[in-house]
């Protein structure tokens, strides 16, 4: 394409609202423009990179036998009411009335619509499994849209849905999808992890998030430094083994700890390590009051507590309830002498402690030399804490590290959540009606694009991986007013196009400095400059990422480019 008549406006300065690199560079290099908060237009080169990601996604979906379809953005509220999500989805779901005051949801996701189609059209186990996908704009009215394409309100997404006759069959589809997602993000050049995630309120079984490692990510991942293990921190089980010391239990003592508010304050005051104190927190787990006890250097993980009790709701107990039951507020709680209504559960690490300190359930006092089994009883020991950096990896290989991640994909075993509520059944090989088993799978296509930029940039602009770049070659004529330069550049442009190479041709009458700066911003992997040596038929080729430059004979340019891209 000739740049002179293309809409690629570049900016010298970072936009005021752009905090992260992908947002800054995608705007500055003319890939996107904001239309409203969290709502963007993709300008021509932006649309091109989006298409590259789309194509990769499409290919990998087709490889596993998923069929592309297209559902509408306008989704009748009746369907969302069948699953209850018209209410539970909350204010992120945008709603619109038509001229007859019929309510529609603006497509945030399509479980309801696809289930309504499949329940009408699929009757027999012979037709299962079915997997479909679509690529289209989705709408979610985020409370705080930010970070450009990372958290928008209208964004491009690939969503897929599978319908299976059994959980075993779902497992197979899920694995295929998992592999396809891995291929997609690998082909996008991303450093990512498939992370065990929380299946949340949807009642599903397995679920993985695909996280691109990045400091600007909103999620924290616990991963093994040697194996492929990775999980959201709240999901990672703790595999640490705790050994009891030879220490003998001493007599428990009540000690005044005036105005010591934090675990650290108390430990310092009593002269022991943080890990020698007990942290006690009161929860309400459905209708049960629970005191969760961990070591002072650990944090209780309420997801684990929830799973332990198989509960619907876990929240901190109110200070009022706490005072009523234990006679004191949050600052001085401990497991000694708690009333029967309160169940004490403790992390495995607590079991290994001897002569620990803990709150005395009396404002301004702590016990020292408290030993579990001797001075207080524990109803149940369990894995209750968040994993920490340095813990052994749950898969037995290596040690846990933390990283931040951008969620670009999500695979989810939905099970029967939607099919049961919407009555999507089929006849099995015995002629019996069975509920379909579903999965859903999403890739944030526009978000992936931003994640790529987060991993591929330097101080001057974007450095696209080969397969994602909007063009393969950025051709520049340094001074198009000079006839020999213009002629050779025009000539090379035609030659490269004819060879099927994607070229952006900066034929503008701009200063060389402007062109070079724009070229670095754009991030096209190879820059070819037609300059002073045009008369000799020599051009300069620059590798955008490494900065390496070399002079190349223009007659061999097609071969040079093809060789360079071979295997990339």
């Amino acid at each position: 394409m000739r740049q002179s008549h293309m809409l690629i406006p570049t900016l010298k300065e970072n936009p005021a609202d752009a905090e992260i690199k992908s947002h800054q560079f995608l705007v500055r290099a003319g890939y996107i423009r904001q239309i409203a908060s969290g709502i963007y237009s993709f300008l021509p080169i932006g649309r091109r990179v989006l298409s590259k990601v789309e194509s990769i996604v499409r290919e990998e979906m087709e490889k596993i036998g998923a069929h592309e379809m297209a559902m509408p953005a306008l989704e009748p509220s009746e369907l969302w009411k069948e699953t209850g999500r018209w209410t539970t989805f909350g204010s992120e779901l945008m709603r619109i009335n038509d001229r007859h005051q019929r309510e529609f949801a603006l497509g945030a996701t399509h479980e309801e619509v696809i289930t309504s189609i499949v329940r009408n059209e699929v009757k027999s186990y012979k037709q299962l499994p079915i997997t479909v996908f679509q690529i289209q704009n989705k709408f979610r009215d985020e409370a705080r849209p930010r970070f450009g394409l990372l958290r928008g309100r209208e964004f491009l997404m690939k969503d897929a849905y599978s319908f299976n006759e059994s959980y075993e069959s779902l497992d197979e589809t899920y694995q295929k999808m998992f592999d396809a997602y891995s291929n997609v993000f690998r082909r996008c050049g991303l450093n990512f992890r498939a992370v065990i995630a929380d299946s949340g309120a949807m009642g599903g079984k397995d679920t993985h998030e695909f996280m691109v490692l990045s400091e600007v990510g909103e999620d924290v991942i616990a991963y093994s430094d040697t194996s492929r293990y990775a999980a959201n921190i709240e999901m990672a089980p703790v595999a640490a083994e705790y050994k009891k010391t030879n220490e003998s239990p001493l007599t428990m003592k009540k000690t005044e700890t005036p105005d010591k508010k934090t675990m650290k304050d108390v430990a310092d005051y009593l002269g022991h390590e943080l890990r020698e104190g007990l942290k006690s927190i009161m929860f309400q787990v459905d209708d049960q009051f629970v005191m969760a006890v961990t070591r002072g250097d650990h944090e209780v993980n309420d997801v684990k507590l929830k799973n332990l009790y198989n509960a619907d709701i876990v929240e901190l107990a109110s200070e009022e309830d706490t005072k009523r039951l234990l006679g004191t507020g949050f600052g001085s709680l401990g497991p000694v002498d708690v009333p029967e209504e309160v169940e004490v559960v403790a992390d495995h690490a607590v079991e290994a402690l001897t002569n620990a300190s803990c709150g005395a359930n009396e404002e301004g006092y702590h016990y020292t030399n408290a030993t579990p089994g001797e001075d207080f009883q524990v109803h149940q020991y369990a894995d209750l804490r968040f994993i920490q950096e340095g813990d052994p990896s749950p898969d037995g290989q290596g040690v846990i590290k933390f990283a931040r991640g951008i969620e670009v994909g999500h695979v989810f075993k939905l099970g029967e959540f939607y099919s049961e509520r919407m009555n999507a059944t089929f006849l099995n090989d015995q002629g019996k009606a069975k509920t379909m088993i579903m999965g859903s799978y999403g890739i944030g296509v526009s978000r992936t694009l931003a994640a790529i930029v987060e991993q591929y940039h330097d101080e001057r602009g974007i450095t696209w991986p080969a397969k994602i770049a909007p063009y393969q070659v950025h051709l520049l004529s340094m001074n198009p007013k000079k006839e020999d330069q213009k002629e050779l550049a025009d000539d090379l442009y035609e030659t490269l196009l004819e060879a099927g190479i994607e070229v952006l041709y900066d034929d503008r009458k701009e200063r060389a400095g402007v062109k070079f700066a724009d070229s670095d911003l754009f991030g096209i992997p190879l820059r070819i400059t037609v300059g002073k040596r045009a008369a000799e038929g020599m051009v300069e080729v620059k590798d955008r990422a490494t900065g390496e430059q070399s002079d190349v004979e223009s007659s061999g340019i097609t071969e040079y480019v093809n060789d360079w891209y071979k295997g990339k």
Copy 2:
């Protein structure tokens, strides 16, 4: 693709609400499913044909240097208020509020958004012309959605916008776009006409609609039986020349015409041809009362009247005004003795009449032997009537015929309507600020698909043109329970796929009759059936459109298919 696990539900019966063939067959063959009134999902084979049309559109756009981009569906109301269309677009524009009660239009079209981008980013004549396009779902809340994909509320559209520095430059872009559109519809195999259309309220200059000829079309086209001339009937000028006869004017006479209501009644009663009477209609043209007079066999065209007076509003005068000014109601009007406040204009055909009959401005009376110039005065003669079948074509070639058409495309010289209201200016080569000159261009992609089916079907289903078909080959195994048939069919499936041929493989365990009926419904151009002669390595090939069948050696099938498609 293997049909067994694909979502292609076929129906034996026409859906109750489907009145036209494209709607019936697209639903019955499993291309689309309705989600709500005027809102459809495209099932996998539907999505495939849509992609074929999309690809053709994309290629033709790229050929003329239009660049693909993507604007959001959520368009801030502020932009629509700048052009006044927030009000004037009316209730077809769907509106939605976000969680902060900010108003958005749901993308019905994108003139405002693209103009807001271009006015911010394009500053110099050197950057012009710019042409961009996008392909995406559009939303219009039609009062009466119907005919399946022909008139929906959410539909796939290609829209393009051009920004030029002058009207001459716009003319060039417009012509390129016009040619590209012609290519698109030709490649889709459509019998269509580019039709001169009314530029309506948008203040533009030239505009053409691309009409697919079809009995179910909602528009009427006047076209030449020999040349490429075509126009919306209200736009076609009448080129007929009328010769005055040698007849001498006789004395005008008032005659009673009791209870004769229509022109035909009066003509029969008075014993003359319809063409020998005058039809007189009272209009209010802005603030002026106008009596428009045509021959009895002609119809007055209010668009022409409007253009004649360069008026904003043309409507029928009220019966009250008519009675006040002429002393009688609509049934007995005529041009004789009208008061000064009423201007009489007449069609050229009237000038050639001698001794015509006309209303006497008195209930139940007509004049006979009324001759213009003698018995009544005409303020102005003009081309005032609708063109009729049999009229000479305005381009001087052939004779006018009428046809019904489905509008699939529209090219429009917008001029300065949007750029002026939104202050989209550039500096010209003299450094002077000028308003950009715009064009807009649309193709109804999903509607085009329906139009293709209207032209390509028979009583058994769709008969896709080669370039649009969802697959090139429909491969059927007649009885997959027979090992030799299954083996050969599986084998052919792999062979065809490897040769890059698009195959749908009906591997279902269904009766042959069901498979054949479904195959005819789908309309894939070539059907290859593996049946009884599988053991000999022979298969049956059927041309879907012509019904021709032949037995072909399976070893040569790839060549056969490639030959068949050559040049199609």
